[in-house]
């Protein structure tokens, strides 16, 4: 392997493998870990994950492409996931997308040219009572307003 995982990552993966009766069951946690370390899951990462989980690379690919949270390409430094499902939509998610477009030039599915933000629309985030909401990285922001958005994005360099 030319792109072997660093030993720290390998150690953590070995700990994950120990939680399951077979290696394949560790695939999702392994992919989460790799994506967290690398920002996305590249072809070499897929091959390495396949070896560690005792799979053929195509088996990793078919799983990887099924789940919307896994990325095969780098995202911006900050991934913004805006819920536009029904409850958030009733509470104004369209206005949030509109503000992101006008004030920050963000378009759903796109990364800004400076690599700062990637914006995606997502289905229900399970925070419907405090919509509209978005996940910025791992952090959930609720009851969004344009002013609140400005403050949140200003903090994300």
């Amino acid at each position: 392997m030319t792109n072997a995982f660093p030993s720290g990552l390998r150690t953590r993966i070995e700990a994950i493998l120990a939680r399951y009766p077979n290696r394949r069951a560790a695939l999702l946690p392994v992919l989460h870990l790799v994506q967290r370390e690398r920002g996305f899951i590249g072809p070499e990462d897929e091959a390495e994950a396949a070896v560690l989980c005792g799979l053929r690379p195509v088996e990793v690919r078919e799983v990887l492409t099924f789940y919307t949270m896994f990325r095969r390409e780098p995202a911006g430094r900050h991934l913004l996931r805006v819920c536009t499902n029904l409850s958030c939509s009733i509470r104004g998610s369209a206005g949030i997308l509109d503000h992101l477009r006008r004030a920050f030039g963000l378009q759903p599915g796109r990364t800004t040219p400076d690599g700062r933000f990637t914006l995606v629309e997502v289905e229900c985030l399970g925070a419907c009572d405090k919509g509209p909401c978005l996940l910025a990285g791992d952090t959930l922001h609720e009851n969004l307003t344009p002013a609140a958005l400005d403050a949140i994005l200003r903090e994300l360099e």
Binding site: L28, T68, M69, L86, C124, D138
Partner: protein, 411 residues
């Protein structure tokens, strides 16, 4: 004031620590069950309590456990369904945010009753913070001997492992959840065999929702007849009702099973904003049939909502007032199911995407005569013709919407 066994001790400031949970009487039910009750007695109590699954299907938990074949050499597994993806539902997050140990105590009780020594909590990938909080609570519990080789000093062993999903609504379906946990695409399995016979890693498996398990400590503490008395016959206890949409006080409300839907909207959630009128209520998460304003005098329990032509589902109530266009509602619903269909069964894969395309072209002003009938036909072709309940979950709300709000959608 009605009893709220699940939430009355929640601290608005944040999750209760192990110490705070124990100080409030936590783990006493598990301790007593492990020391004084047989597994069969625990299971019997839960069965008598008529605790229906709170995830959506509403199957009685005690009956589900009884399907585990006792002659099987095991191991048996428990999978906790924390995939909470049903739009309009956020009650399991509420439990995880306030009282992760309540879930862990429920897990101990179920594991002991069924004879499980490894439990996996399958939590949706987007719940990153709740997952971290759970990991922390599990570490706390393991450190204090509440979990591990000898649970609460009983000699009964139990390990609990958090397993994160990665963004797929279908993984809330119990057999898709098993596939996903085993490292496959989350595509539902053909039943039978049911998971109780052939489940995780081919072993007998119980799959229960977070809220279902969180009810167990109170059932064991206070007894089946107390729990049953809180709700309705054959449908005991309280429910966490998530209310969102056009209401003044959206949120999670713990209410007796059978609370009138009208009271949920107008009393508990504070009703609509001044000057607005009610247009529709979705009572049980997006997959349930929408009710018109004249149809909400119905008790929120499994049987009553089924009789009203809808379902209690996840008890995710989405309130829609006259400021909301039903075209927007149809747009969101059709987009969700087209996006989330796992693609395994043709009627669902093709049906959801065709419906989506028709809705999109109507939205773009390119609708054709007969489009709504086309949608009805496609939805009808999905219903009852797929491996898992997703086909119905997509068809039912779309059929109800097009039938009940046809005039507005035609405009």
């Amino acid at each position: 004031m009605a009893e709220r066994p699940l939430t009355s001790t929640f601290d608005p400031a944040g999750p209760r620590s192990l110490e705070a949970y124990v100080r409030g009487g936590g783990y006493a039910a598990a301790r007593r069950a492990l020391a004084e009750m047989t597994p069969a007695a625990v299971a019997g109590e839960v069965k008598a309590a008529e605790l229906r699954g709170r995830g959506g299907a509403g199957f009685p938990a005690g009956v589900k456990w009884s399907f585990i074949p006792r002659t099987d050499p095991g191991p048996f597994y428990l999978c906790v369904n924390a995939d909470e993806g049903e739009p309009g539902t956020f009650k399991d997050r509420h439990i995880l945010a306030h009282d992760p140990h309540l879930l862990l105590e429920g897990i101990i009780l179920c594991a002991y009753a069924v004879g499980v020594h490894t439990a996996y909590i399958y939590i949706r990938g987007e719940y990153e913070e709740p997952a971290r909080r759970l990991e922390k609570a599990i570490a706390e519990a393991a450190g204090a001997g509440v979990l591990g080789a000898s649970v609460l000093g009983s000699g009964f062993s139990l390990d609990v492992i958090v397993h994160r999903g990665a963004g797929a609504y279908i993984c809330g379906e119990e057999t898709a959840l098993l596939e996903s946990l085993e490292g496959f695409r989350g595509q539902p399995r053909l039943k039978p065999p049911f998971p109780a016979a052939v489940g995780l890693f081919g072993k007998p498996t119980v799959i229960n929702n977070v809220e279902t398990l969180a009810h167990l400590p109170a059932v064991i503490r206070n007894g089946a007849s107390w729990f049953l008395g809180l709700g309705k016959p054959k449908d005991g206890g309280t429910r966490l009702v998530s209310v969102s949409g056009s209401v003044v006080r959206p949120g999670v409300y713990e209410l007796p099973v059978g609370t009138p839907l009208r009271d949920v909207v107008f009393v508990h959630a504070g009703g609509l904003a001044p000057g607005r009128t009610l247009k529709a209520v979705i009572p049980g998460g997006m997959s349930s049939a929408v009710l018109g304003p004249g149809e909400i005098d119905v008790p929120m329990d499994s049987a009553s909502l089924a009789a009203a032509g809808s379902m209690i589902g996840s008890a995710g109530v989405i309130v829609i007032d006259d400021a909301v266009s039903m075209k927007t509602v149809l747009d969101r619903i059709s987009r969700f199911y087209a996006h989330e269909s796992c693609g395994q069964c043709t009627p669902c894969r093709v049906g959801t995407s065709w419906i989506r395309r028709i809705v999109l072209r109507r939205g773009a002003g390119e609708g054709r005569a007969g489009d709504l009938d086309r949608i009805v036909r496609l939805a009808g072709a999905m219903k009852g013709r797929t491996l898992c309940p997703f086909g119905d979950a997509a068809a039912v709300p779309i059929l109800a919407l097009v039938t009940k709000f046809r005039a507005e959608l035609e405009q």
